[in-house]
């Protein structure tokens, strides 16, 4: 059996663009490429993370795989079924959860929300009764099952979303930024539950822009930037992208475009990230020879107030930043 036939999710050269129109009287057509030829293969039972910044194409990819969007080019198969041509069959065997508070009926109780969605998925009443009770227990919602969703906390709503996504006992579960907006405790609890689902044999496709989240629970990760996959592998293998590099960090007051350009032009510097930190800027340089770079800082940044210069080994987050190549 070929690896392609065994893949739970198989994506080949997937492309998607959105067209919007700008202006009131003279309307100009603007194309936004959301996916630019993405290839992915996710094995059954794998917890796969798609990592990328906002607007990278994560939600677009998820919506295509969950049959809510049609691709423009390429193909996508879930459990061997084409998401375009075998839509109903795919829908019966997958579950999906989008992050955020929308997607539940606030006037209904948690229990009634699940009953309603179970009816939509045509789950027989005796099966749904057992399954709903089980899910509410597992997701720690039993005590509040009769309360209206409008009274639930953010974390409870997200757990209810997860329960809804599991109603039809899907073989593949899609989670699009499931921890967004949750407090750290709630987010960690959800991550533990997601890992347990994967350990129980479900294939999980998770999107997130938190590197630590992907690192904590995913078996494999792909990093997506502007609709294209820029790296794919285990967390360890992705970290090796930057293992030959070091990181120099410092605080400065008075960063100018000219000084920034000077930093970028230093030999061996692969990326410069600037973030506001109180009244100063925190600059993170990824470079091949941190010691050499540190000696040049005084020259490039003459006149600026330079503080707390340090160097360290790169982390997984550094790898992500390196791959995404963001700077402010």
């Amino acid at each position: 059996m070929s690896s392609q036939a065994a893949a739970a999710i198989q994506v080949t050269a997937l492309g998607k663009k959105f067209v919007t129109k700008r202006g009131t009287f003279r309307r100009t057509r603007v194309e936004n490429v959301a996916l630019a030829g993405v290839d992915l293969a996710i094995q059954p039972g794998e917890l796969f993370g798609l990592l990328g910044p906002n607007g990278a194409g994560k939600t677009t990819a998820t919506k295509i795989l969950t049959t809510l969007l049609l691709p423009d080019t390429g193909s996508a198969r879930v459990l061997g079924l084409d998401v375009v041509k075998e839509t109903d069959a795919v829908r019966r065997r997958i579950g999906f959860v989008f992050g955020g508070e929308r997607g539940l009926y606030w006037r209904l109780s948690g229990l009634d929300n699940l009953r309603y969605f179970a009816d939509l998925y045509r789950i027989p009443p005796d099966v749904s009764r057992r399954r709903i009770a089980n899910l509410l227990e597992r997701l720690d919602l039993s005590e509040r099952q009769h309360d209206k969703v409008e009274l639930y906390s953010r974390g409870m709503k997200q757990r209810l979303h997860l329960a809804r996504g599991l109603l039809n006992d899907p073989e593949v579960l899609f989670l699009d930024e499931p921890t967004i907006g949750l407090d750290p405790v709630g987010a960690r609890e959800l991550r533990v539950m997601v890992r347990e689902l994967a350990d129980a044999g479900k294939t999980i496709f998770l999107t997130t822009h938190y590197m630590f989240e992907a690192d904590a629970i995913c078996d494999r990760i792909a990093v997506i930037k502007k609709g294209a996959i820029v790296a794919e592998g285990t967390p360890s293998s992705i970290k090796r992208v930057v293992e030959h590099e070091g990181v120099v960090e410092f605080e400065v007051m008075g960063m100018t475009p000219e000084r920034l350009a000077g930093l970028r032009d230093l030999p061996g510097v692969s990326s410069v990230v600037v973030a506001d930190h109180e009244l100063a800027q925190l600059v993170t340089l990824h470079c091949a020879h941190p010691a050499d770079v540190m000696t040049q800082l005084g020259v490039i940044l003459v006149g600026a107030d330079l503080k707390k210069v340090s160097s360290r080994e790169p982390t997984l987050e550094d790898a992500y930043v390196h791959l995404i190549g963001e700077s402010t």
């Binding site: 998607k16 959105f18 809510l68 049609l70 999906f96 955020g100 997607g103 009926y105 009816d119 939509l120």
Partner: protein, 266 residues
Amino acid sequence: MRRVALEAQVFARSTWLQYVALFQWATVTGYIAYKVLLPIGQILFFVEFGVFATGRQNALYFALGNALQLTANAGIYGVIATVANERQYGTLPILLGSPANRLITFLSRSIVNVIDGLVTVIVALALVVVLFGLDLQRANLPLLAICVLVISLTTAGMGLLFGSVGLVMRDSIVVANVVYYLFLILCGINFPVSRLPGALQLISYGLPLTRGVEAARQAAAGASLIHVSGLLAGELIVGAVYASCGYVLFRLFETYSRRGGLQEAY
């Protein structure tokens, strides 16, 4: 047989849950305001104006017409609001990502509102009997009931069309308001359709209510089913056409959204 019973049970439960989740007037004050005060106000206003303009002998004409037009309160406003609430809650993507039967999902949005429309009209007719002395002794009550049911269905059919439009139009309730009030002019509610200019009469007969109200007026005067069957058949056809167009639009918009449009709705 068991499977049919199961489907019926599921359908009934879904309809009930949907009513609680999405019904526009699910609060006490909302129901009183829009299902009690507004209908009473409408009937009183048009009857008093009609008496002022044409004489007390025509009070029942205005009373009956406006009582029947109140089905549009549920059929138009109610259905559009149900779809709009669905959009507001963000549950459309989940519905569309499920294997649920599209036609049943679509039609079920109107069922509660049809029932609500029936209740509204029955209460309004009772009011007309009490306040304005509508004499129902000569009326063909079963036929009148059938007319009311038909009108509830056809206005809901039009509501389904505008509900679909509401998926792409943010201010769909504006459409509901326009349509509701246009019914008052175009459907023979407050004056005979024959008073309208020719072109408007054509529009009038393309709308729900026009034939149904005429049939109901004849039923209230004691006519038999044979006399009004043509009107009722025409009314049902009009309603079915609107509902069908609404379903086609619903599926078209779903496909369009899957192509990448309408992201704010889906």
